[in-house]
């Protein structure tokens, strides 16, 4: 559970036995396929989730960048993002562990909807904690979770966003730890979560490896993935960790600026890997956006899914060792890339994913001759934000959209 100095288990004592139990279950079922756990998981991922997802050559982007650009299409997974890989894995594991209830936190709602879907599919009751501000902003996702039979519990503390929802879910877990499993949504939290979530997501890289070999006969020169918590990132990278000639590029949200506002306690970005400092948050030692005292700062990104003040400890470690390169792309570039990729490829990427494409646009020569971009999710969820955010900016967008035009008026 350690990645260099990062990782560990910084949680209330009441949770430690559950975490030890989870570690044990993880080793038995996930690592050693006890009772055929991994076989069952793979079957659910295939039949319910739609795996394998395709690896597609992006014809127009390849031409634009004079580079073979391949897209790993996690946007085609059930629910519209890579999140289900992990949610299905953990809910199934909870079942194997004899747990009777699932809890999860959600910010914009992506992990919550994936967990609700997985819980319905596997017939487990689920309660999703969500900040009341986020609930207001994400009604459709709240409704999707409820349609899938989950209870969505508003978190009214603090600003009512993701951080508070995580803390509240930890509290529920501390209260109901004996029959309840907490499905953490990224490669964050106490050990074994970072390792386990990475393993559940590593199906992305496993498939990519096989598919790129079939298509090109070789490993790619680089893999580009956006990084918030980092689960799609590590999912795409893990398989290639020992292949030193494959550059692993993690693209963080540069937000509106990399400068922090210490007074307000706000970092107008989520570039934790690039600008954060080591600390302890939500159960793990990792890089954080924090002030001098160690208070956690509000992060910001145009993409809700990257908008988090921490990052997975393993990713922090791999950046320190140089195996993974941490770069960042700002809100404006991400928005422009959202429009460009939609127009050129007929794929509307999630705003998270648009950051990865933004890196490609700004650094077409840095990715080698063959690159894979992990399309972590689809952008249907982001349409309202995009209209809103595009309105405020003078973007270089070629699309002549009546909807955008109207919004500007």
């Amino acid at each position: 559970g350690r990645f260099g100095g990062y990782g560990g288990q910084y949680v209330p004592e009441a949770l430690m036995p559950a975490i030890e139990e989870l570690r044990d279950a993880y080793e038995r079922y996930v690592l050693h396929n006890e009772d055929g756990f991994m076989d069952e998981l793979r079957a659910h991922l295939a039949d319910f989730g739609g795996r394998p997802t395709p690896l597609q050559r992006a014809d127009q982007l390849s031409e634009r960048y004079d580079t073979e650009v391949y897209l790993k299409r996690e946007d085609l997974l059930h629910g519209g993002a890579h999140k289900l890989n992990n949610a299905l894995g953990q809910v199934l594991l909870a079942k194997y562990m004899g747990k009777e209830r699932i809890i999860a936190e959600t910010g914009a709602g992506q992990h919550g909807t994936a967990t609700a879907m997985a819980a319905a599919h596997l017939d487990m009751p689920a309660e999703i904690f969500m900040g009341e501000t986020d609930i207001e902003r994400q009604r459709p996702n709240v409704f999707r979770m409820e349609l899938n039979g989950a209870t969505v519990t508003p978190v009214t503390t603090g600003r009512g966003t993701l951080k508070e929802a995580i803390s509240e879910t930890m509290r529920d877990w501390a209260t109901n730890v004996e029959d309840t499993h907490y499905v953490i949504g990224s490669i964050v939290g106490p050990d074994p979560f970072p390792e386990m979530v990475r393993d559940f997501q590593s199906v992305i890289g496993d498939e990519t490896h096989e598919q790129i070999l079939a298509k090109t006969g070789d490993t790619p020169d680089s893999i580009v993935a956006c990084a918030g918590g980092g689960s799609n990132t590590m999912g795409a990278f893990h398989e290639f960790r020992d292949k030193e000639d494959v550059d692993l590029i993690a693209v963080e949200a540069g937000g509106s600026s990399l400068e922090v506002d210490e007074e307000a306690g706000v970092a107008p970005n989520s570039a934790t890997l690039s600008t954060g400092e080591e600390g302890v948050l939500h159960g793990a030692r990792t890089k954080l956006l924090q002030d001098e005292d160690g208070q956690i700062m509000e992060s910001h990104s145009v993409s809700a899914g990257l908008d988090y003040s921490g990052v997975g400890p393993e990713l922090a470690y791999l950046v320190d060792t140089g195996r993974v390169e941490a770069v960042n792309v700002d809100d404006k570039t991400a928005l422009e890339s959202f429009h460009r990729v939609s127009r050129l490829e007929g794929i509307i990427p999630a705003l998270e994913t648009a950051h990865a494409f933004g890196y490609l646009e700004e650094n077409p020569d840095a990715v080698g001759d063959v690159t894979v971009v992990n399309v972590s999710g689809r952008g249907d969820k982001d349409l309202e934000s995009v209209v809103e955010e595009t309105k405020e900016r003078d973007l270089d967008v070629e699309t002549a959209s009546s909807v955008l035009q109207e919004a500007k008026e």
């Binding site: 288990q9 209330p12 030890e20 503390t157 160690g294």
Partner: protein
């Protein structure tokens, strides 16, 4: 394993220890000083002082809100130490906070600068709710170096080897979590308390029970079950919150805190075996 003689002395007295908790700087700096002093007048034997952290994952709503009030009032680790130095009390003070604030403090990496400064300010011990024994070595070393007790929490779920690991590391007292969940006042006292105390009987470390104690009767019940002390947070923070909400005077709130402290202390005293015999 008692590193700090102040805390040791409290438990050596034989009387059950009453350990109230408040968030330093709640609802603001000056009033908070008075409130802590009122607790001493009400019979506190030790005070746990919360240094607020932005992500208090182990706290219930009452203390979360207190933390927000304190932080909005400008509380920081440095102000906290100033607060401790300014306090006019004669009982040991234990600082309760989350590990990131300890980890970040000062220019040197790790917990040592924080512990050094805490010792200078007169802090007798630390409780860190998000630091299990497994991760505690660096802090344990610093505490030993500067003569601070490091209090650990034992939960109802803590059994077997884990219990042993913790009890081997704890100093000052062990914080026995009365029930699962987060901090917060409740109307009942859990059977889990009895079971936890039974499990801890073999260790010769003072056992202070916290989480959910609200009344003198609770206190009595818990001490009679074998606790060496009681820890009360939310029931007292509720009084501070009420005062802040209603615009009550600092004196009036302080008086209410003192009265509540006395009720709890008296309850604890009634629960001692000797008291039962004497009745």
């Amino acid at each position: 394993m008692t590193a700090n003689s102040e805390i040791g002395a409290v438990f050596e007295s034989g009387e059950p220890a009453f350990i109230p908790y408040l968030v330093a700087g709640d609802p603001e700096y000056e009033a908070s000083l008075e409130y802590v002093e009122a607790l001493e007048r009400g019979g506190a034997d030790i005070v746990e002082l919360g240094l607020p952290f932005s992500e208090p994952i182990a706290e219930g709503p009452t203390i979360q809100n207190a933390i927000v009030r304190s932080m909005e009032g400008g509380m920081t680790p440095d102000r906290f130490f100033a607060f401790v130095e300014e306090l006019d009390v004669g009982i040991p003070l234990v600082c309760m906070t989350y590990y990131n604030l300890i980890f970040q403090y000062g220019s040197e990496a790790g917990p040592r600068p924080f512990v050094k400064r805490a010792a200078e300010a007169g802090i007798a011990g630390l409780v860190v709710p998000d630091l299990p024994a497994e991760e505690a070595d660096p802090l344990r070393d610093a505490c030993d170096e500067y003569g601070l007790d490091l209090v650990f929490i034992v939960a109802p779920t803590t059994r077997g080897d884990r219990l042993k690991t913790i009890m081997d590391q704890v100093s000052g007292y062990v914080y026995v979590q009365a029930r699962l969940g987060t901090t917060g006042a409740r109307d009942d006292v859990s059977d889990q308390t009895d079971e936890s105390l039974a499990r801890l009987r073999e260790w010769d470390v003072p056992k202070a029970v916290g989480f959910g104690i609200k009344t003198g009767e609770h206190a009595e019940r818990i001490v009679s079950a074998g606790a060496d002390g009681i820890i009360v947070g939310s029931a007292l923070v509720d009084i501070v919150a009420d005062g802040a909400d209603s615009g009550e005077s600092t004196e009036a709130v302080a008086d209410r805190l003192e009265a509540k402290a006395r009720e709890l202390k008296d309850g604890a005293l009634r629960g001692t075996p000797s008291a039962a015999v004497e009745d």
